[in-house]
Symmetry: C3
Subunit: 319 residues, 3 copies
């Protein structure tokens, strides 16, 4: 299995946040922070990756994440090609690896991959040439590393620390790659009070989320929290949780203004999007003063620029 790090310790792939050290995470966050611009300013731009080519391979629809990676690459001066695998070469039965080999031979320097199947980013990383990097843009229920980084950056911007924070992740933890990548990032960065708050049917396996506190009572779970991170719920998961419609799910697990009062008064509200307004989160909370949901999106492009620059930048002069 190919390592994420090069022998010199620099980042080659980003498949998971698991196993990255605290200094490595902090370095990425610091570089991303330099690329953050306030809304209303033009986006940060450079030519750091001029001459490089980034391929987005998305086998699941994901406008937000695909566009975020696309703009991150373009704003560093790279060329970008978008491939929706199910619509193109798979029609001809071509295997994904042959597509990857082909793109590599077309001088693609980095692959950004989203796939609903576990193991796909690692599989690609195991087969690409040594100069090529692979970035996961979401892998099954397992990992969404740039989301974990952008969430950590968002928390740090508001709280200026990780130590001592109480962070509650609420909803469908069981099927959430966002929750898992946040767990990886936040425990490494020093969050000790991490709570996973979910109906029993949506709790992860017992061996997962080591060190996190499990809580199936919403109120208790967010009591005194500095950060309340709501997750997207899908219809079929509501059924599993015996809350078989949006209204019943909302009554039990929707974050309302009243419920938010149980967290700290300066708690921030997060959501990885897309949101089901009125199901897992009330619109007035999503758009309210404690919400940092749009900051998360803005930070996402900065994080992706930082990661692309990190994995490709060392070769930037090697034209």
């Amino acid at each position: 299995m190919t390592e994420q790090l090069r022998p010199d310790g620099s980042l080659r792939h980003l498949l998971t946040l698991e196993g990255l050290s605290r200094p490595q995470l902090e370095l990425l966050l610091e570089r991303a922070q330099h690329l953050v611009r306030p809304l209303g300013a033009r986006a940060a731009m450079s030519q750091a990756l001029a001459g490089a080519t980034v391929a987005n391979l998305f086998t699941e629809p994901s406008t937000r994440t695909r566009v975020s990676f696309e703009l991150a690459a373009k704003r560093l001066g790279a060329h970008v090609v978008n491939l929706e695998m199910q619509l193109s070469s798979r029609v001809k039965g071509e295997s994904m690896l042959d597509t990857v080999y082909t793109l590599e031979s077309l001088h693609v320097d980095a692959f950004v991959i989203r796939d609903a199947q576990a193991g796909v980013p690692q599989l690609v990383a195991d087969h690409v040439a040594p100069h090529v990097s692979v970035l996961s843009a979401g892998e099954a229920h397992l990992s969404h590393p740039t989301q974990g980084l952008l969430d950590a950056l968002t928390i740090y911007q508001r709280k200026q620390r990780f130590a001592g924070l109480a962070v509650a992740i609420v909803g469908d933890i069981r099927h959430s790659r966002v929750a898992r990548s946040n767990w990886h990032a936040l425990r490494t960065l020093g969050v000790t009070d991490l709570r996973i708050v979910a109906p029993p049917a949506l709790m992860p396996e017992a061996h997962e989320f080591a060190g996190a506190t499990r809580c199936s009572d919403f109120s208790a779970g967010i009591d005194g929290a500095d950060v309340v991170m709501m997750l997207r719920i899908q219809k079929e998961r509501m059924d599993q949780a015996n809350l078989p419609d949006g209204a019943r799910y909302f009554a039990a697990w929707g974050l309302t203004g009243a419920r938010l009062k149980e967290a700290r008064p300066d708690a921030i509200v997060m959501h990885p999007q897309p949101m089901n307004r009125g199901i897992e989160i009330a619109p007035e909370v999503a758009d309210g003063p404690q919400s940092v949901i749009r900051d998360q999106v803005r930070n996402g492009v900065a994080v992706r620029m930082a990661v692309l620059a990190e994995v490709l930048g060392t070769r930037a002069g090697s034209t």
Copy 2:
């Protein structure tokens, strides 16, 4: 309702031509004219919008208009992302406004929006941050402002005036955003003899097109016209007009060379495309010496460059 103009009178959004003053329209046309290049020359290019990002949100298929806006933005140095809403985030039930907020947080500076539903561009304009601009690329049957501008520019290039011209718009006026935007532009620019020529079933409501002459006789409608603008007819509209197939519609309302003789000898023939050749227009007229249909397309990219530069340009130095 958000105004199209900023407090200083500059153009922020372009949702409709209704309400724009004659000097405002003339300024846009003049700037567009500077960007027109003859066929065979390379397109006009600049870096006026380097660092800006334009998002095309199209919920209806429209190769021509999407590509025209895409090339206009790229030729000004902007980054462009294309989103087909029905194919991506709407799959997940995400509301359009959340998509807009997301793109805004990704530092999208302008949205180009086409939607079959009335009110969508205004809805977006009402919700974006103050530094963001919205351009309609076609809204229901109501408005297609850049089409109105490019048609006015095309007329001016050939006639060097608006005053005193007789302009006949022919066909399915009732459902045509092109006709409405032309009506807005041309009456403001000084066209006093504007005729809407259609079978009774395809005439607009009585309160619409104030100041235009209504005519359900094709020959009378184009008699002595300087400009004959044919509109696209859809199959279901032919049925409404009791002309339930292409041949019958063409016999009654198709522009042939013979019928064109009823207009002025130097009349120009226009069509917003895509054309139904042999239904609303004879191929020999579409490709004939009086046709300016390809000029319309060429002018379209110049108009869209002028509009993008106008709404975004004032912030160009604000990186």
Copy 3:
């Protein structure tokens, strides 16, 4: 019928390799060779086509070829627009030629066209304005000129000559545009021992492939060959050849390591991709030391850059 060459002898369109002279082919190969970079280096880049616009019109899915042309154009500084014809304007019944006229009026300088129907690239070439170029990216079973060039370049890189080589093209010759373009290129470049090796049902018409040796015995066909080029087989073609499943086809016509021994020890193995691994080629051969399949892909982008620069470059200063 529009000629591929301008009156001054320079290349305007590339629709077929048939009729191009040996010096013309050699010039393109030489220019492409200058643009080849080893895997691991950044791709070759220039601004030779800055200000030019290339439109990819693909009516068949083809990730590889579309991306190869797209990157070739972008790496020369051109703007690129991608259109999938069946998904966009054809929905509205617009004819392809009207789409072409429209794009031409949007200052598209070159069209890259793939279509399953014979005659489409020529039809477009016959109708575009004199300054516009058309490149075929694959036309029915007839022609795939950039594939022929990249295959020739790949052979030359390994053999440093064409004269005296024995080249065996194996498989579904009858339906293969790749075989036809290789036949055009290689006989012009001096290959005299060109063999087409196929089951009788997949042999081309008797009047085709003049000068090539026909062979329906696989072993005899590749005996002593310097180059073994395997073609993709489609399921319906196996049925025609009375080898109605992958295993039976592979047993009879699949290139295995054992069979490859019948060629010269330094023979190279080629495949235009996408491959059916285990049907027309064994995976260990596709990935083995004699395979140059990835070189073919890498050379493809260099060839397409050379061709785009050749057809558009003479106008590069004409902004």
